[in-house]
Amino acid sequence: MSKIVKMPTHPLRLVPALMAAMCALLGVSLAQLPVEPAPNVETLPEKYPSSWLFAHDLAFYALATGRVYIVDPTAKTSDVHGMVDAAAFASFSYSQDRGELYVAETFYTRGMRGDRTDFLTIYDMATLAIAAQVELPGAKRSLSVTQKAALQVTRDGEFLLIYNFTPAASVSIFDLNKRKVVNDIQIPGCSLIYPHGDKGFASFCADGSMIAFDLDENGKPLNEYRTVKFNDIDADPLFMKFATDDDVAYFVSYKGFVQPVRLAGGEPEVLDRMYLGGAVRQTSYGAGARPAGWQVITQDRSGKIYVLMRPDARDGDHKSGGSYVWVFDPKSGRVIREIALTGNSISIEVTGGRNSKLVATNEAMFLDIYDLKSGAHERIIGGWGPANPFALHAVQ
């Protein structure tokens, strides 16, 4: 893949064909350890194990240079398998079925300035080579701290949904077969994207309702729905991070209510809210504990909901992180378990496979790896300089 420098006579050129000459020049011969081939570039499996995780670095100290690290929290060696770039408040998603990673990102022709172009960059999962770079017209892609709801694949795997904010809000429908934007849907006063049915999405709206769309095969709305106003943004707003169990999306509020919404296509169903604090079992903290952090909610493969909790939280602490994870069983409406973290953390995720882990981004921006079964802290993964892995995506 490397291009040979167009300087055929320059002595510095070190390509395999010239190596023998180089060795002769240096008075060397073949050694006991074998000479190693170059170039030599690693590859990855075409589908990633469900024990893996994507750690999306916002790169707050150099926002144009965000990254998504591919992490194996179960690995005894080689805990990071590679990375892809994710520029300027990028958003990230992927499709195991297609073997593709998706990065919606923003470039300037001259680094920090010049002409803006937005791209959807598609990577081959096995090689991390760029399979396609598709320009997203209109320079309207949403730019915010990295979060999953800014870029979502529809449940049928056909469309990638891109959230736009200029501050006019819209959603671009990117057809993953055609690799192009097939429609833009205006969602005035509404924000972010949650999968709805097989081929549709929902958004939160500023009046406290949700809006939802069923889409046809061309990305055009078949139906548009508007729920009742159930999100009390003034008094106790819902975080916009979400967990899912089948077709139910779970949200938590600043004050610790769990709000399920069935997003199965058709009319969204706002289910009964439950109170985390009111249903505590075997927990250290009750009153005063609140969800706090960035990615404050996630799920395991059995449908349990995990919420990052801050003891003695006060107003304004909702992003300050938490040191406990409460495991909530939506079937019983109860907190069934508490996992004590080793320190304050801001984002959580649960990986799959036989060896499931609870992964938490801690204050030092390292990942703490906990055994999901025992809750024991096993190790840390990080050491990536100023990286800010705020968004964690377990491989599904």
Partner: protein
């Protein structure tokens, strides 16, 4: 270790009026106006009650002006903060300064008026440089735009 975005205030130490701005290697700037007390290079400065980013006062700007060579974002979010100097609440506009790479100094995150992105005009997770010539984010200001009578 690194100061962090959502919990950067913890790294700043101290409270308004304490000695030091809490940021190693950053010169202090004590206000001389008793009506506007505190240090604009400290995360605890009263106006910053909902700020999220690098403090422009540490970067060649002030609490309410941008460093040379940047552009102040024309749109942003607003919150209200209590001024301990006069006991009144002010409406603060958190204008970002845009067009060059992150300043990198005095990272500060406070969320007193912050609401989720569904209410963008009250949210500090959005890159408010979105309305500027370049969306590249350098630092954040806290501009007094009104007195909150509410």
């Amino acid at each position: 270790m690194f100061p962090l975005l959502p919990i950067a205030r913890a790294a700043s130490g101290g409270v308004a009026g304490d000695q030091g701005n809490g940021f190693d290697g950053v010169a202090e700037q004590q206000s001389s106006n008793p009506l506007d007390p505190g240090d604009p290079t400290s995360c605890d400065y009263w106006r910053y009650c909902g700020i999220d980013g690098f403090l422009c006062a540490c970067c060649g700007g002030t609490s309410h002006s941008c460093p040379p060579g940047t552009h102040m974002s024309p749109i942003t979010w607003v919150g209200t903060c209590l001024n301990p100097g006069d006991g009144k609440r002010y409406v603060i506009s958190y204008n970002d300064c845009c067009g060059t790479n992150s300043c990198g100094r005095c990272l500060c995150n406070r969320n007193e008026s912050d609401k989720p992105m569904v209410r963008p005009q009250a949210n500090n997770d959005i890159n408010w440089c979105l309305g500027s010539d370049s969306v590249t984010y350098n630092c954040s200001t806290a501009v007094i735009i009104a007195h909150d009578e509410g």
